[in-house]
Structure formats: C-alpha cells, structure tokens
Assembly symmetry: D2
C-alpha cells in the first residue's frame, strides 16, 4: 500500500506540442511515460535531488522497472496537462509511485499509472539500496 506523504501530491505542468501527438489526433500513448518521468525528475529536484549529481557522485541512477498504465481519455494538441505524483512508497531498492495525468482545463483524469522505480548502479545496472537521504527527502 502506498503512503500519503505530506509533500504530495506533487504536480508538474506539461504542454502538448505537435511532437507529442500522432496521426490519430491525440497524444501518442508512450509519451505519457515521458511526461511522467519529467514529473518525477522535477519532484526529485524539488526535494533537492539532482539526478546528474546522484550519478556522478554516487554512481546511481533510477530506472523504471515496472509500469502499469490505464488510458482513460485522450489528450490533444495544445492542451495543458498536469502530471501528478499522488502517492509514493519505498522499499530498500525500489519505489512505487502512483501518477496521474489530468487535463488542466477541466480536471478530467486522462491517464492513471503505477510506476516502479529501481535504484541501480550506473555501470552494471545492478540493484542498489536507495540512499538514506533520498528516502528521507521523498
């Protein structure tokens, strides 16, 4: 079960550009994963964690190890979206995040996701414990 941290939900705005859409007229389904990673990056940054530093100084990166997405409604060109991190739970090596993508204009839920992130070393990509200060910050 996911804990509700006092700093959550974290919300990051994303605008839909042509690059994000496909010939069906809507945002291409894999792009939601990109949007969700932008939000996770900014959420870590807001907590003081810069991932390029984490990599240089500790040789650690976060990699997506599982993702489950439900597409509820399409997003379209030029729409303003909100990418939300609504819940986080952490174990030794992995974090589970619940993420939502919402249409900013009418608050409709467009996409609901459970994302599992694993902490791995940047060379071998082998599992490593999430640093204690990261756990405390998030």
């Amino acid at each position: 079960m996911l804990d509700q941290s006092p700093t959550l939900p974290f919300v990051w705005p994303v605008r839909v550009y042509y690059e994000d859409t496909d010939a069906g007229g809507v945002v291409y389904h894999s792009r939601y994963l990109n949007f969700m990673e932008r939000a996770r990056t900014e959420w870590l940054r807001a907590a003081g964690i810069e991932q390029d530093q984490l990599r240089k100084q500790q040789g650690l990166i976060f990699a997506v190890s599982k993702a489950a997405l439900e597409y509820r409604a399409p997003a379209r060109f030029n729409e303003q979206l909100l990418v939300e991190i609504s819940a986080v739970s952490a174990r030794r090596v992995t974090m589970n995040l619940q993420q939502k993508i919402i249409n900013a204009a009418d608050q409709r839920l467009l996409c609901l996701a459970e994302i599992q992130i694993a902490c791995v070393d940047s060379r071998q990509l082998r599992p490593r414990a999430i640093p204690q200060y990261v756990l405390e910050l998030v």
Copy 2:
C-alpha cells in the same frame, strides 16, 4: 485467459538506434511501447489488415487502452531485438495481447508486457465493435 492462436507467436525484428537510447546507455523505457506497436502493426499487416485502410474505409482505429510492462533487462545501442506477440484474446471492443521483447543474440527476455487495444471510431474515439473479419484474421 489468453488463447494461443495457430499463427502465434508473431515476431518482428527491431534494431536499436541512437534515437532509442538515453544517457543511461540503454533503451529509454517508453520506447519499448513504440517497438511493441510496430510489431502489432506488422502482425495486422501480415494478416491482411492495413490500418490506414481500416481508418479510411470504416472510420476505425486501434488505441492502446491499458499497458502493463515489466522491464527485466536493458537493451543497448546497436543490439538486434525481437518483438514477439505470443498470445491474443479478443472481446467485442478490446483485444489483449501478450508481448515480449527479446535480445536476438542470446534470447534473453528484456521486457514482458500485457497490452489492451480498444477499437474506437477515428473521430470521437468512442468504443466500437471490432469488425468480424478482423477477429477472424487474428
């Protein structure tokens, strides 16, 4: 439960180019969804179904409505991958596919996915019954 069709597994080769990788040195996690859609498109084509014709003639498109991915091992630049459709089950509006991404050189399983595709009309993106001839072909 997924049925095992006589035409499955369907396998589509994909080469990893720089565009598919990220600064972690591995294929970016959302790209696997792109690779899986290429395989589904070619699987439909192999069955005689051209999606541009399906859209023009019947106003129908297939949209991903759910996706669940497990990332088991990374793929790297220049590797040859095999994208497999190993099982398919269909209902009136949706199809569920089991898809795998495999390293062609050593047959390691890199990514395992369950993808749900919904048949929708191309304008409103409302659910529509999958045409009977599509169900028979797949």
Copy 3:
C-alpha cells in the same frame, strides 16, 4: 535578410530530460528541432495565436519547409536550456526564423538554426497566404 522585431528575442526555457538524450550522453540531434518548435508555439501563443484555433477556425497549420542546423556544442542530461527566436522575416506564405539554443548556466551557444515555416491548409497541405493578423502580431 531577417528583420529584428521589437518583441524579439523571444526566449523559452527547456529542461533536458532522459527522453531527450542518447547513449552518447548528449541530447539527440533531432530533439533540437522539437525544442525549437516548442519555442515557436509559445512565441505564437505569447502573441495571442493558438494553433489549435487557427486550425479549427481557418483550416491552417504551419509546417516546417526548410531547416538548417549547426551543432556547436552538446547539451547534456538535466541541463537547463534557453531556446531563442532572435529574428523573423515573413513573406506571403513562408516565415524565416533564426533560432538559437543556449545553455542557461553559462550562456554558451549550442545550436544555431534557420527555420522556414510555410502556412498550409490542414487537409491538402497546399501553400496558403499567412493571415494578415498573424503577420501583424509577429
């Protein structure tokens, strides 16, 4: 020759995420075109022009008809970039823009581009005159 409009340069910030990078450790070369289009979209928005409205109401879209890029220095993961529109000239059907991508931290020029945009109708993609109010706004 390009005119220097009083509203220029227009600057739009872009953060480099993993999705933008490749296994060489730097931003993938075609992504700069994506960043430049984001800046053009926001520049038009700042001038009161929403491209989804332009399409719905007038059946017009802007399409890139020429692009010339010089890559001077690489951008890397997590860097903050500034995408600049430094000069614009317009003819009946096309606009020429000079765009720059700059590292926000040290102001280094990373990429210099000349982009030609053509106004086309959204169905046939045939050349059409740029609306007068667009010319006045930009």
Copy 4:
C-alpha cells in the same frame, strides 16, 4: 563537391508507424533526421563498421555537426519510405552526406538533406581524425 562512390546510392527502407506522425496527419519533421541516421547506421554496418565496436575499441563516435533539410512533400502513416545515401565526401574529421527520403510507392522525393558528420572522441566529444579503414570502406 561530393564524390559518387561505386557503392552508392545506399538505400534503407523505413515504414511509417503512428509514433512517427503528428496531429497534422503527417510524419513529424524531426523524425526525418532519425530515419536518416538509421540509414547511415545500416550503411556503415553494410561496410563492416559496427558503431558500438568503434566506440568500445577506439573511443570514437560519429556526431551530426550540421544538417540542412528541405521538406518537399509529406509522408503519412503506414507509408513505406526509402532512405537513400546518394553521395558522400570525406575530409580528415568530417563526412558530408547527401540523403534523400523517397516514397517507395511512387518514387516521389519527400525530403532532401545535406548532413555533416564529425568524428569525435566519446568522452570529451572533441574532433578526431576519421580512422583510415573507415575512410577506405566508405
């Protein structure tokens, strides 16, 4: 001026999938650069040059240093394209390639490009001489 090598033109087929298109119904303009890089990668491979080996063994990568593109006609979802390398000239550090993207069905020229590739070391991305055996092979 570009030399006409006996091994040219090199042609690589590319199929247009949904991921390549945008809400304008056509291939997104930056994707042509991706397609052209796929063709260059396969052209080097056909000459016996594997870029992952070049990097591991010699610490060298090829980076795009200039690109000039003319978009003549749009490509659409599901179309079969041919990506051509029609001419190559080499200097000590850079290669200039003329590349074309053609609609396979009717041979229409869709995009014409001049691409400059620089040989750089994989760590600092500083210019390095193209290895002699690469020059001989291409």
